[in-house]
Homo-oligomer: 338 residues x 3
């Protein structure tokens, strides 16, 4: 696809070559994200960061990504803060706000709203999550993380094994990730969930059509035995029909250091889209894994910055100029790289 001026609305819009290009550009962003140098390449450009639904992580990540390229951010948070509450259409909001900025990132609680907004916008729009529908930059950062972790041990996206655990029925991130995986070859997937929260058959079909091998299980320990990646997700208790049902499953899909050490291969990588629920009654990913080198969940969010920087640079056509506008940093930093 032609990235300049494009909207990023869904993972379905990418071909394999597009993914490769995004990841190649993301790699070049590392020195900036690590503050080894700074760039002014987007100085003067404005990101309209519109989060009509609460989000700290994603909102700040988009904003910082734009800032790290030298751009400026104007932010809108919460739908009540908006004229839309008075009956203004998405069309009007898009026409107006796109006259103010160079690119817009939008999160909206309703599926399809970001695409509707983008259709009326005069500048590129990046979907920051539209309800149960899509959150394409999350899927991209997940895939980018998998690639990086695999490459770290000589592997690649064309031949690896992954277990996805938790709520696979409603989990937006696992569905998008599976769509992207269809662009690659020879992936072995194990889906581990309570029966009520199983991966939808249509997703499994697509994966099989792509030549991947899919197994379904409700046994955590067995499933993590021979995989490269464990991708854990949150189970919301309200998904179950009764408290008894929830109690029955409680804990069966929780990963902790003991289970991981006893069952997984030592260099298996643990991922999670975050937020994880750290309350004792919920924690799908135990805090006793926090300092474990296999835990890649904060490498994921760090990678999110790289992927978003890459997208912004590509949408505005500056990916080849970032270094040209670079300068050494002036301050000292004791940033602890994870």
């Amino acid at each position: 696809m032609d990235f300049i001026g494009a909207n990023i609305l869904s993972v379905s819009q990418f071909e394999r070559g597009d993914i490769d290009r995004i990841f190649t550009v993301a790699d070049t962003m590392v020195p900036y994200a690590r503050r080894e140098k700074v760039t002014r390449v987007l100085e003067g450009a404005i990101l309209g960061n519109m989060f009509l639904e609460p989000s700290t992580r994603t909102r700040v990540s988009f904003g910082c990504a734009f800032n790290l390229l030298g751009g400026t951010v104007r932010e809108t948070v919460g739908v009540s803060a908006s004229a839309m509450a008075k009956g203004e259409s998405l069309y009007d909001t898009a026409r107006v706000l796109s006259g103010y900025s160079d690119v817009i990132c939008m999160r909206h609680p309703q599926a399809g709203s970001v695409a509707e907004f983008a259709a009326a916008s005069r500048v590129p729009v990046v979907n920051g999550g539209d309800g149960a529908n899509e959150h394409p930059t999350q899927a991209l950062l997940d895939l980018y993380t998998i690639r990086k972790e695999l490459e770290g041990k000589g592997g690649s996206l064309d031949n690896f094994r992954i277990a996805m655990i938790g709520d696979l029925k409603y989990g937006r991130t696992v569905h998008s990730l599976c769509k992207l995986l269809c662009l690659f070859k020879n992936v072995q997937l194990v889906f581990v969930s309570p029966e009520e929260l199983a991966m939808p058959p249509v997703v499994i079909e697509k994966l099989r059509e792509a030549g991947h091998q899919v197994t379904v299980s409700d046994q955590l320990e067995q499933s993590i035995k021979a995989v490269d990646i464990v991708y854990s997700t949150r189970i919301q208790e309200e998904r179950f029909e009764s408290q008894e049902e929830a109690d029955r499953y409680r804990g069966r899909f929780r990963l902790n250091r003991d289970i991981f050490t006893r069952h997984a291969e030592p260099n298996t990588v643990i991922m999670h889209p975050l937020p994880r629920d750290s309350r004792a009654e919920a924690n799908e990913l135990d805090p006793d894994l926090n300092e474990h080198p296999s835990l890649a969940i904060f490498r994921q969010t760090d990678n999110g910055l790289l992927v978003r920087m890459a997208l912004f640079a590509m949408l505005l056509g500056v990916e080849d100029k970032v270094d040209q506008y670079a300068r050494p940093i002036t301050w000292q930093t004791r940033r602890n790289q994870i």
Copy 2:
């Protein structure tokens, strides 16, 4: 008036020469708003953007206008987020916050509050709307738009015809616009509204004193027959005494493509202060006009950026230096100019 260090609180403070100067400066801002180049003229300056009442459009427009001049914005949204909720006076808030920034834009729900704030502020204050009272930059951008649209067809502010439609009794924008029109010559005005929402006699008197010709009507179709500008505004149903009353008027002041095509001269311009209510039961300006070249409502908001940039530049005395600090833009943009 002397703009450097001045407050912008009311349209009443302007003489005709002031308006001309603002518009002349606004014209010079076009290449920056269109991203043909960027400027650093206000690099290091801080705008305190204080919106103690919700607003997306106006807040973002002020913020972007300052950013486009190279300045930085610190924002406060919502009164609960403020110490004022604990009984702090506007005086104290103004003394403190004006020590942090170089210029302040304030929206406040109470009439007169922005002037009270400005009296205590140590830096210039721009009124971003104080309740039912004033919203001077909206009036300026409306007038600037009228001028630009008229000039496009060889006309000028000293000789034109305008119909104002909708809630003319409570509409803050039409009152301010009428005040400004008193500075010009030979304007023919038609006020179209339900009787309960008629333009206040005092406004009509002032216009006649200025030598303008005023007609009052409650017939939309007749009134738009021979005008250069149709300025539509929103009618809030709760203004009517009963539902029957509201139903009686429902639709009588709605402009759509059919009515416009059948009754108005072809190059009549349609304006609206926004937001317009796009819900079917309300829409005073039908979405079927969205792509009509006469619809100037998004040119209005684009012009708002220019007018606000001009004011900031003049209050800080840099209107002649903007180009001196200009540079070519580094990114590619596929911005669709309206």
Copy 3:
């Protein structure tokens, strides 16, 4: 202490030499805060300004301090806007967000939370107030103001007299200030409060151990007779057991121009941590003192900017480079210095 990369969590972490260094750096920030010049020393650096509890003054002060050094600010306001509401731990939030920014300022409603956050953060954290616990930059700006005001009349922090008035039991600011005063010599303190709101004995003990002279009183007029500084604080009526109790004290600790003129020495300085309650039934510091030259409350907030700029510069190791990246300002300003 070594400031580079350090957290600023409590006034207890400072030795006298640290205070001296901070104040020396703060002095060098004056020309930037007064807009006599601007600096780009932190261009490219990002402050994560996280206010999980409402605050305008402190939030904007931190943000502007960072901007005045040339840095960029990404802001989060309100806990509901955060994943923490969904059960995310402070550990996770800190790991993630510290991957985005170069330094974080956090206000949190719960005592100890900022320290917990800082322990997991990968970048320096400044405590912007954690419930009833600490607000170290407020104590620093108070002390810096006292020093500056005393020096203005030939005095110093090692030999002065101060009356603290109001709620001395729950007042976070007076406790922190007293801790800092223990680092200096020969301070005479008078604590003036209703009995129920007296200064805790442990604070008084510490002051006496440091060699200071402490007097306790419930008579405002007597207590301000022979002091250099009057530090007034707010009394919240809900602290009293009954309305009668509150009524009995109502007004006994209010300072106004008449009382001040009749009882205090002419060059006594009046301070207050703000916000002060300006409602008639509460005003501990009467508005009739607003234009009095002794009133230093807005010099305090101006000084807050200097102290915060100093801390940011020191945490990032650029305090010696600020001037190297300086430039003359481009705009005209009619800022009225207080």
